[in-house]
Symmetry: C2
Subunit: 408 residues, 2 copies
Amino acid sequence: MALIVQKYGGTSMGSVERIEHVARKVASWQQQGHQVVVVVSAMSGETDRLLKLARSIDARGSQREFDQIAATGEQVTIGLLALALGKLGVQSRSYTGWQVPIETDSAHMKARIQKIDGARLLADCQAGIVPVVAGFQGLTQDGSVATLGRGGSDTTGVALAAALKADECQIYTDVDGVYTTDPRVEPKARRLDKITFEEMLELASLGSKVLQIRSVEFAGKYKVPLRVLSTFVEGPGTLITLEENNVEDPLISGIAFNRDEAQITMTGVPDRPGIAAAILGPVGDANIEVDMIVQNVGDDGATDFTFTVHRNDYDRGLEIMRRIASELGAQGVSGAADIVKVSLVGVGMRSHAGVASKMFKSLAAAGINIRMISTSEIKISVVVDEMYLELAVRTLHKAFGLEEATSA
Amino acid sequence: MALIVQKYGGTSMGSVERIEHVARKVASWQQQGHQVVVVVSAMSGETDRLLKLARSIDARGSQREFDQIAATGEQVTIGLLALALGKLGVQSRSYTGWQVPIETDSAHMKARIQKIDGARLLADCQAGIVPVVAGFQGLTQDGSVATLGRGGSDTTGVALAAALKADECQIYTDVDGVYTTDPRVEPKARRLDKITFEEMLELASLGSKVLQIRSVEFAGKYKVPLRVLSTFVEGPGTLITLEENNVEDPLISGIAFNRDEAQITMTGVPDRPGIAAAILGPVGDANIEVDMIVQNVGDDGATDFTFTVHRNDYDRGLEIMRRIASELGAQGVSGAADIVKVSLVGVGMRSHAGVASKMFKSLAAAGINIRMISTSEIKISVVVDEMYLELAVRTLHKAFGLEEATSA
């Protein structure tokens, strides 16, 4: 018998029929002898509808009131799921964030969980009652309702699992696990049985948006075994675990990519201390987020400085660079909005030389020109022209043997 | 400067535009120097939508969960109104039932308020903040959300006014006050400036459904001055007060009527002790509610026993009477489903003889046959054929001078 926290997202709660389907899943876990605590999101589209209503009155109004309004979405679904469980003969009880209580800081619309009192939920479990908890919300010190920001139900699930010392936190979604890459780009993409938290973080932040990043960080920090699986398709999903020093670990776990990048380059910048700050300062001031940054060492006292931004910020970023180029004594400014980032992710590459060169060789053999390179401990990212995205992903997927189960 | 509790119903909260209209009304009261506490209902139709959703899963499911779901309707409107007030520069703060807190018993879906802690609301008022409180809901001892039953927002308003010792509780609705009778039946019906709680109770229970009965009882019990007025039309509305022994009080306040009545008569019943119970027992057992009851004294050891029921219960009631008639030794059973009740209401009639005879004479002069008569301290009701309803109401409205301001 295990204590399992299950989190079901908005798509899984999208209709009465789907809620009844979730109830049957929960009931079957309980019948197998497990204690189950359920966390749910609002019905898909409901949070957006509520926030739109609030914004139609005052988009810049009190965030406390936005939270008061938005939190009702989950309060409806916890009640509905508890009713659906009751109808199946499973004793159940719904809990809003304040009823648990889940205490948060007072940063409305992006609150962070500070403390969870799991006593009532554990007592329910012991009494054979399935608690159904509202995700995405909590209670501030001054008694207000706060929400954790979009996707926060995952975080609620993980935080509850940590507080209750659950054996596993299962995140049910509309995909049946984490894949080696996006199956829409590479049909041979394969579901991973296991992935480390670090790899998952790199994959998530790079665009394989299966889980909310903060919940993965949280699960890693509190060592909560996390499993991603599908509400609609039976299967074991993907288990996200602490890194194990297993020599059988695959070299590479997956290939992430990001279509929304744009590249801006300042050429012939005098190479002196503080130049990076002088360039990126005005970009930050304009609230433009910078992703990759590459600076080439110059041999004539000048250097080329390149960074990538979200494609929506390209024009503004270019304008800022042109404005400051002359005062920095730079030669010129150029850029490209039709570029993408492709990244190889895997903890295995730490202990294996040659991953980078194999990657570059494969891309060259496919005739793909690399515009930028950036590396970290467990990831290598390259920027290529957008037209090469699919080719690059498929080439790397094959080169690193991701179609079949890989071994070191 | 006065402390005023204002309650706005679902129609007043029916759209963003209407909520903004309410915000302007509240702001204007505050600008006049008053302290205002607002109580709101859910947007019209929203509570029904939520309950329908819950019933579609399990109509006989846990009432606690029905309340958890239904209470979200007001949680949305308090947030929206607080935002609308904020946009007008009025500081505001929304409160759910549990945030006040408003403590109730645990009778889910028909809970009664047990205690209100007004400290936070009063502190807000003193700080120039307008608290916006969710009507219809409260917190049970075990930390669950409970609703007060339909129309319960009026009760919340009155209970808050009592707890805060407010100078007045204003109930905003879509009519601009209490009328001498239904203006759709008598176009000359006149808005009353003032009416007593007792009269209001008689008018409300007789079909002039402006206010929820329980809230009027509550206001009378706690001596909260209650005012009914329109959200959409400017005007003083109708003040509902404790009875004042004012000789200038009008004899009659208004004329109520009820279309949904049906009459059942058992004739020639042996006149012995316990006969009323023997007749009405089986009716009560069948969950049929009885309104008027009239028993005529017989002079030959037999009596006629008549009562009225809701028209929907007529056939079932008649069937029960026919079944028990022979075992009671009655002569026969008869009835009529096309009858109505018309009632004259006024505290003034207590100290004035002749009201009843004036009523009967006026009806006779109009050629209206009276089938039943029943009287109480402040009301005289007659049952007449349905075809005479409008004529009876207009005849009495004129006879008792209700078109213009009346005097004793």
